[in-house]
């Protein structure tokens, strides 16, 4: 009975919030296929079955990993609690640092009303991201890591959760003057070894999903890290399921010299928050 209920809910959410974008990506897919046929290359791909048996897996793969071969790969490690004690702040760590030539990392919570959590591009960073997300209900988490050869390497976890993480108002709204602290950030960076560092940040932001009654969507949607040479270290495109007061851990690649990381963020209202983090030289640490 419970299983059936969940299944029904999931379908409902799917058709409700996402039919338009599904339709669009469907169109794109058709275009892509017809082009491929003309050039005589391989036909439509097979989407491998999901080890978690998620009823949403095929549509998640079609929407968020639209082209290229899909393989389940143990090198994409998704670390998450078995059961979420707080469905508003569920800690998840993705480590795909054993994979080379990573282009982007897509994180999806299949049964959230808004499934896409983030799209990360590690340019001069390890394929590693720690963060927290909101869960509406028990859900599989799928992480697609696309390498430059066009292959999606997929890892997964399942998190048990009580309901309501995405449709309840943010805790900040208990305070009438929450906007005064908007964007306040704590961050720290340290050197791990001769070639990498670790940075963690936490920003005050309600990360409103737009699904709580009377509260429009309002969330941090862009985060970019650059090094002192101005090179892009990593860029993150963020979506509504990222938790309130979002927390991120990244692992930038650095040289042995001291470096300064510039972090810039922007939310959906155009609020900008920028700050810098220094990494000591290898000889100093």
């Amino acid at each position: 009975m419970v299983y059936l209920m969940k299944r029904f809910n999931a379908k409902l959410f799917f058709s409700f919030s996402n039919c338009q974008s599904v339709f669009l990506s469907g169109l794109l897919l058709m275009l892509a296929i017809s082009t491929v046929t003309v050039s005589g290359a391989a036909m439509a791909r097979d989407i491998p079955p999901d080890p978690l048996n998620s009823i949403m897996w095929t549509s998640m793969a079609e929407r968020f990993m639209p082209e290229g071969e899909i393989v389940f790969d143990d090198r994409v490690k998704v670390m998450a609690p078995f059961s979420a004690e707080d469905q508003f702040h569920v800690p998840v760590t993705v480590d795909a640092s054993q994979l080379d030539n990573v282009e982007k990392i897509i994180i999806v919570a299949d049964l959230n009303p808004i499934p896409l959590v983030m799209n990360m591009r590690p340019v001069k960073a390890l394929s590693y991201i720690g963060f927290r997300l909101k869960l509406q209900q028990t859900s599989p988490i799928h992480v697609g890591v696309k390498t430059t050869d066009g292959v999606w390497h997929v890892g997964y976890a399942v998190i048990d959760a009580a309901g309501g993480g995405c449709t309840a108002p943010a805790a900040a709204h208990g305070n009438a003057d929450w906007m005064r602290t908007l964007g306040q950030t704590r961050a720290i960076a340290s050197r791990t070894d001769n070639s990498s560092a670790r940075m963690t940040m936490r920003m005050r932001h309600p990360m409103d999903t737009g699904l709580a009654v009377g509260i429009p969507a309002f969330y941090l949607n862009e985060l970019e890290v650059k090094n002192s040479a101005g090179e892009l270290v990593a860029s993150l495109e963020l979506f509504e399921p990222v938790s309130e007061n979002p927390t991120f851990t990244l692992r930038p690649q650095v040289g042995i010299e001291a470096d300064t990381l510039s972090v810039s963020t922007r939310d959906t209202e155009g609020n900008l928050v920028d700050f810098a983090l220094s990494i000591p030289a290898a000889s100093d640490s």
Binding site: A176, D177, M179, G214, P216, T268, E269, G270
Partner: protein
Amino acid sequence: MRRKHTLLAAASTIAMGVAGLSGSVQALDVSIEEIMNDQASGDDIVSYGLGPRGQRYSPLDTLNKDNIKNLYPVWSFSFGGEKQRGQESQPLIKDGVMYVTGSYSRMWAIDIKSGEELWQYDARLPEGILPCCDVVNRGAAILGDKVYFGTLDAKMVALDAKTGKVVWRKTIGDYEAGYSYTAAPLIVPTDAHGPLIVTGNSGGEFGVVGAVEARHPDTGELVWSRPTIEGHMGTLNGEESTMTGTRNESWPGDMWENGGGATWLGGTYDPDTKLAYFGTGNPAPWNSYLRPGDNKWTSSRIAINPENGEVEWAFQSTPHDGWDYDGVNEFISFDMEKDGEVIQAGATADRNGFFYVLDRTNGEFISANPFVQNITWAKGIDENGRPIWDPENRPGNPAESADGKQGKAIFAVPSFLGGKNWMPMAYSQNTKNFYIPSNEWGMDIWNEPVTYKKGAAYLGAGFTIKPIFDDYIGSLKAMDPATGQVKWEYKNKAPLWGGVLTTAGGLVMTGTPEGYLKAFDDETGEELWKFQTGTGIVSSPITWEQDGEQYVAIVTGWGGAVPLWGGEVAKVVSYLNQGGSVWVFKIPEGLASR
């Protein structure tokens, strides 16, 4: 019949295919020239007021006095949610898309053919906003590939017109000090900086300082600012420019520091004189005994050179105001024929009940005539444009009362909501008349002591509104600006709170709080057509042409200042229901010629 249907469908598919193709190749790109020529082009509306002069006159004549009886709704779009309240917005139209703002700082893009939403932007407002007079918005501006509007927390937002995503967002004022923003932004051309987006501010009831500010449309970066109150410094290119007036010339002590003069209704621009005209609000506080002097430039019209933000001229309609007679009402440029001469004139119907005509090149006074009845606060306007006060009808000084707590109450006409409030009038190039949405009401008003406190109401007055006549308050009047004669009048039971549109087809259109959108004969005032929208109308109608058909649109939703401040008037309006929609009308195919 069936066969004809199929053929039509096939034809429209082809047309859509072509339109879709050109749409995807050409990004939206509204030029400053299009905005300046907006009045002449009937196929779009890219400015507030149907052209920079704000005449609200459309050259379209497909819809006329004979066929308006066939005007029917095409679609209605709901603003949704629980956030209804007053809807005072005028939509913009470009390339088959309507851009319309609503209460609580929201905006929508709607496909005009289908009435379907393309996107919605919902500003995330803080809890502590301080709008004095309902959570309204009056409209957007459009330039290049962006649409612009101001929010209740005193921010200016630029949105990508295709997606509704925020491009930039800048602060106009501190919302915790009482600043907010409700007017439609104005776009003006300059030689020095290119097109600029020019805004005023709101918050006159909280002792803010009125200002006009110009920003770069691409970045939101401030180019110049011009405070309206004597003694404050303006800025140009990030540096102090000049002081407005001379400090303490018409203000005592430090009262100028929180002097009011909010430019809360935005402005107009005249491409002939190359001046931007802004009106300024009441002085703060309302108790006039605390600020002896003329209190410049409150309750005034100021003409600003958009190249540098300097004041070219100013005209004060109510010096030393003691009745909350804001001077914000729109200043409409028009060419007036009088005694065989053509005068570069401008006209404005003031809160204080007088209709002023000025020389728009230099601000010189030409004439002032009452447009509401039984005005008591002044006996008239002298030959220099200065009111002849009636000392009996200025509320008394509380300092002269026995306990010092309340001055003598008097009855003044018009009321503080004005002979005319924010709702814009229209000027017909057809009849050479102005069509003024006005109200016949007065008030009991008395003064109290008050001191300034950040974020608190700064009034020092108490008041209650009373109708003057038993059977009506609202009054739409046709006025000849050359003679000051009222040509015709339409009386409405509830106060009128919506703007007016007039067309080359001989129509005058406005909405009523009772929910009707109405059309009148521009020569006689005869009511030709009405449609019940289901909630009160407090916004300004528009008309445009698309695919060879003339459309009309009106935003509906009862609210605004009347139900909040209405006094005895509340009885007339308390039964009116809220709403939040935009209605679009046209004449069904084949009926235009009947």
